[in-house]
Symmetry: C2
Subunit: 255 residues, 2 copies
């Protein structure tokens, strides 16, 4: 999207270099930068360096203290819900772990979100779900995976939005990233599995008809399938499934 605006300013460019490096763990917790060092390394003024540090500080990646410098914070203190940090981690070596934890988060949130949507969504918005589902079926049958992904993302985003809960809605971007990550790593079959499509249809119609329990159960079936598939190919402590070829994984349906 707004890649240009993201790098429009100098401090954003510093951030785009420093943030991912810290997020990737290239600097141990406790590592200390000095502003002067940042100025030299990035060839920027003190003003710019400090602005970058302020943003990093606001996501708790670093703390800045007089006489000490800018100290890297232990990862457990980071603001793990910061969209920018999520993106940085998804772009780095932590991608697998990040996608796994985000997938579990999805699995937790989307079923209740579907239930809430069935309970609270405005009537005029519910039909859009059915429409989306029809488009998904058509695009899936045609084998247009790109278009299908867009529709799948849109479907899940709409559920989260219709839930009427701003915290649920706030995860729309995360869900989009996870879905994109799945297809990117070939965890998606060439043609979406019919069963998964049917489950999406169930969610849509249950929300339309105002049946929270049905919507929740159908959505839970969707996300649980994704989670168990992930666990199955990735026993705790095992290798990173996102870096294995698709054939070794057994593809799963749309989520």
């Amino acid at each position: 999207m707004s890649v240009d605006t993201a790098h429009r300013t100098l401090h954003n460019r510093v951030l785009a270099a420093l943030g991912p490096a810290i997020a990737a763990g290239e600097y141990r917790p406790g590592h200390v930068f000095t502003l002067e060092r940042l100025e030299r390394d990035f060839g920027v003024s003190r003003t710019v360096a400090r602005e970058a540090v302020r943003v990093l500080e606001s996501m708790r990646l670093v703390v800045s203290r007089p006489r000490t410098g800018v100290r890297v914070t232990p990862a457990e203190d980071w603001s793990v819900y910061d969209p920018q940090l999520i993106r940085w981690r998804l772009a780095g070596p932590g991608r697998g772990a990040q996608l796994r934890s985000l997938t579990e988060l999805r699995a937790a949130v989307e079923p209740p979100a579907a239930a809430a949507a069935a309970r609270r969504a405005a009537p005029e918005h519910r039909a859009r779900l059915m429409e989306l589902n029809r488009s998904m079926a058509a695009t899936g049958a045609a084998g247009d995976l790109d278009a299908f992904l867009r529709l799948d993302v849109e479907f899940h985003r709409l559920i989260l939005e219709l839930s009427g809960n701003e915290m649920f809605r706030g995860l729309a971007g995360v869900v989009a990233e996870v879905l994109a990550g799945r297809t990117e790593y070939d965890l998606m079959p060439q043609h979406p599995r019919p069963e998964a499509l049917r489950l999406h249809a169930h969610v849509a119609s249950a929300v339309c008809d105002g049946l929270p329990d049905v919507a929740q159960a159908a959505m839970r079936a969707i996300v649980d399938e994704v989670v168990t598939a992930l666990e199955h190919v990735d026993p705790p402590g095992g290798t990173d499934p996102w870096h294995l070829p698709a054939t070794a994984l057994g593809t799963t349906g749309p989520g």
Copy 2:
């Protein structure tokens, strides 16, 4: 907590004034500040004003553009998971809505987190749960609500940490705020309800014994009770339950 560190720097003080005001909706989306205006209003230098704006920008409360100024963003674009923003909203008129949406989020996440804890927690950490639960029972019986709240918070925090999912763990602070908000507004009885305490015990022992389904069900009972109590006293579009006297609400157990 670190109130001093939060206000240690000038830009943090500007932030502490501007952030809550924007979060409270005192400035309409589209409202424009100029840096010069901020300098004058807060009596700070341009550097400080800019640093504050950078942080606000990183939580997407504002966008800063040349020739335009610093424009307030529509609320639906805000980074609603930013801990600072959550705190600001909890401190303002949006407190009720914020607590409600956070409670629903809790209800979604904590049961799967309990299941994950039962599946993955390190053996040496599980006993601590039982210990905490015993303390809760003792403190609850003694009627020490403050100490009980601390233990309750600690209990739920531990579950989220033992889940082994960093996104779940990242909600520990949120859960603490919600629990504190509940007691603060007298939604808690003088003595915790025995049934709720028993449910907490069930969660603890199920996690200890590695029974994900039991842990999840018990935790779901805990949080569902809270959510339904909340819905019962606050039909959609109704008045704000957090501002009503406790007697009108019917108190509920620890959560």
